[in-house]
């Protein structure tokens, strides 16, 4: 008894006691669902039980036209958000931290506010701004130009404007603050030596700022890839539920939700989830290779 207590309080056992919740959580709420998810994707899951059906779900997915729409939508959304949510926040952060901008504190506080709103509330606001009704802000603008009211959310082009604008509105400030933090970590003496060497503003940005912001860029790209590929609730709110006209708002997670929760076809939905994971990991792996994150350690070792 006493011995056991002594052991429990020893420096050898204590760290394991500290990390025990993580180990349990890892096994119960991460590894177990991950493994069941993958195994269920090879099973037919019904109320009665589970039956192995091999790769039948994947074969069906290959020919599933809704799944194809969902994958294309998710990848397109991810690509567009990457185009919008990496360079613009970076430039804004540089401008924000330049000596030119006054009242920085105020702008920073305001620009973060949209991220505080939930998807439900911000989605509702954007849905109403893009409303078909005459009082929707977009239609008010149309009326000012003498054009008739439009059904903005019924076609992909304009509907996606609402979707992307919602994303830009909510996350530009957040990504900008990531870059602001990245900029603060850059040694100012580098810019001074740039000045001495006669570098102009663009050259300093190109050869000092961008390379030294790389860790931030890698981080922002990584979270944007995940967020973009697994986008669901934004579309769910803009189109009031999981059924948009002609499936213009159908995403991979939306399809997973539809199959798994609404139609209770867990096996098939898990196969969708596995494909999502493969796509997400592949893109991030490619990204880390392309940005050379893996080779960083090598360089340090030399």
């Amino acid at each position: 008894m006493n011995k056991a207590k002594k052991l429990l309080y020893s420096q050898k056992i204590a760290p394991y006691v500290f990390v025990l919740p993580f180990i349990l959580s890892l096994l119960i709420f991460w590894l177990y669902p991950l493994v069941t998810g993958i195994t269920m994707s090879f099973q037919d899951v019904t109320f009665g039980g589970k039956a192995w059906i091999g790769t039948a779900h994947y074969a069906k997915l290959a020919g599933d036209k809704f799944f194809k729409i969902a994958v294309l939508n998710s990848v397109e959304y991810m690509a567009l958000t990457l185009l919008l949510m990496v360079p613009i926040p970076m430039l804004l952060a540089v401008l924000m931290e330049s000596r030119l901008t006054k009242a920085r504190g105020v702008w920073k506080v305001i620009m973060y506010v949209p991220a505080l709103t939930s998807v439900v509330i911000s989605g509702l606001l954007f849905r109403l701004m893009f409303s078909e009704g005459v009082n929707g802000q977009m239609n008010v603008i149309m009326a000012a130009f003498g054009k008739p009211a439009q059904a903005w959310l019924k076609s992909k082009g304009t509907g996606w404007c609402a979707l992307l604008l919602l994303c830009v509105w909510r996350w530009t400030g957040v990504n900008m603050l990531y870059y602001v933090a990245g900029l603060k970590a850059i040694d100012t003496s580098l810019y001074e030596s740039g000045d001495i060497d006669g570098a102009n503003g663009w050259q300093k940005f190109r050869y000092i700022t961008i390379p030294l912001l790389k860790p931030t860029t890698v981080y922002v790209i990584t979270i944007s890839v995940f967020a973009g590929l697994s986008m669901f609730l934004e579309s769910f709110m803009i189109w009031n539920g999981n059924s948009s006209p002609k499936n213009i708002g159908l995403t991979i997670v939306g399809y997973l939700y539809k199959r798994g929760i609404e139609k209770n076809d867990m096996g098939y939905a898990c196969a969708v989830g596995v494909i999502l994971m493969v796509i997400a990991l592949a893109i991030n792996f490619a990204q880390l290779l392309a940005t050379g994150t893996f080779s960083l350690k090598k360089k340090k070792g030399e």
Binding site: L26, V106, V120, L177, Y178, A280
Partner: protein, 302 residues
């Protein structure tokens, strides 16, 4: 010679700087107006007839009728005189969701922070065999989107009998990798000599973690508390799966149910949405300094 040329040069530079300042500051002022716009629309809309707002959009026309009716209905629970039973019932429902969200958020924040602190402590303060592997697993859990685990987790929670409970919502996310990561980053910079000093003074390993190290980790707690509160208050997808009873819903799920065209709850929806941003906005405005520290820690170090 040099003196003669420098004067006009300085003048143009000063003029350029002034123009630059005006342009940069103006740009951020414009961006902040763009950011405030949807929220202002929503706020104005909340003083107008809900049915009309949902069907025709949020009018910015200052001549159209404005009333406090929506808010009177929202708070009907507290001032029931002259209200129909339906309205009072709805108001009671709304504040039940509000209370549920507050309780859930508070519990989540306290539990998550404590558990993650101890895990990070165990990962940082000792040297042992599994340390590197466990930290790698923290990163690994971050690189699998939650949406993939969602369905198997849903089944697991059902089997464990904690569906429709707060435990079902909180437990799977308790060991939040991002929070552990942040605490670990923070603790790495703390002096480890304090541990030995504590040991000499006769403190146990657990006593050191609680009495000596926890107080000096306060800033990390502050920033993570806000991040965690935001995430929990606005969380939607997972709680939507776990809660089955209307009287257990969180505010976000509840608001979403008000969107159905069947019940005429639009007054409540629009006023309730605006009132639903309030708690997190207040916390943000008080603690926003800590929040910026919290969110940027991962980005800088990459």
């Amino acid at each position: 010679m040099a003196k003669n040329t420098s004067t006009p040069n300085q003048k143009t530079m000063a003029a350029n700087h002034k123009v630059g300042t005006a342009v940069a500051t103006g740009l951020f002022a414009f961006l902040c107006a763009f950011i405030a716009f949807p929220l202002v629309c929503g706020l104005l809309g909340s003083f107008r007839d809900g049915q009309k707002v949902i069907t025709t959009g949020m009018s910015l026309d200052l001549h159209s009728p404005v009333s406090l009716q929506n808010y009177r209905e929202l708070f009907a629970k507290f001032a029931p005189s002259g209200m129909t039973d339906d309205v009072i019932l709805n108001s009671q429902k709304y504040f039940m969701w509000y209370k549920n969200s507050l309780i859930l958020t508070l519990t989540t924040v306290v539990l998550t922070l404590l558990v993650c602190y101890f895990i990070a402590y165990g990962l940082t303060m000792y040297k042992y065999k599994l340390q590197g592997f466990l930290f790698f697993m923290v990163i690994a859990t971050m690189s699998v989107p939650f949406e993939i685990l969602m369905l198997p987790l849903y089944q697991e929670i059902t089997t464990l009998g904690i569906i429709n409970t707060n435990a079902g919502v909180i437990l799977p996310g308790l060991c939040a990798a991002g929070t552990i990561f942040f605490f670990k980053q923070y603790m790495t910079s703390l002096p480890k000599e304090l541990l030995d000093a504590g040991r000499v003074d006769g403190c146990t390993e657990y006593g050191i973690a609680v009495k000596i190290m926890m107080p000096i980790t306060k800033p990390a707690f502050a920033s993570q508390a806000i991040m965690c509160a935001m995430g929990s208050w606005n969380n939607m997808l997972w709680p939507m799966l776990v809660y089955r009873d209307t009287n257990k819903f969180t505010l976000q799920i509840g608001l979403n149910t008000l969107l159905t065209p069947y019940g005429n709850n639009y007054n409540l929806l629009i006023a309730g949405s605006m009132f639903g941003i309030l708690p997190i906005l207040v916390i943000y405005l008080i603690f926003n300094r800590y929040l910026v520290e919290g969110m940027t820690s991962g980005a800088v170090k990459g």
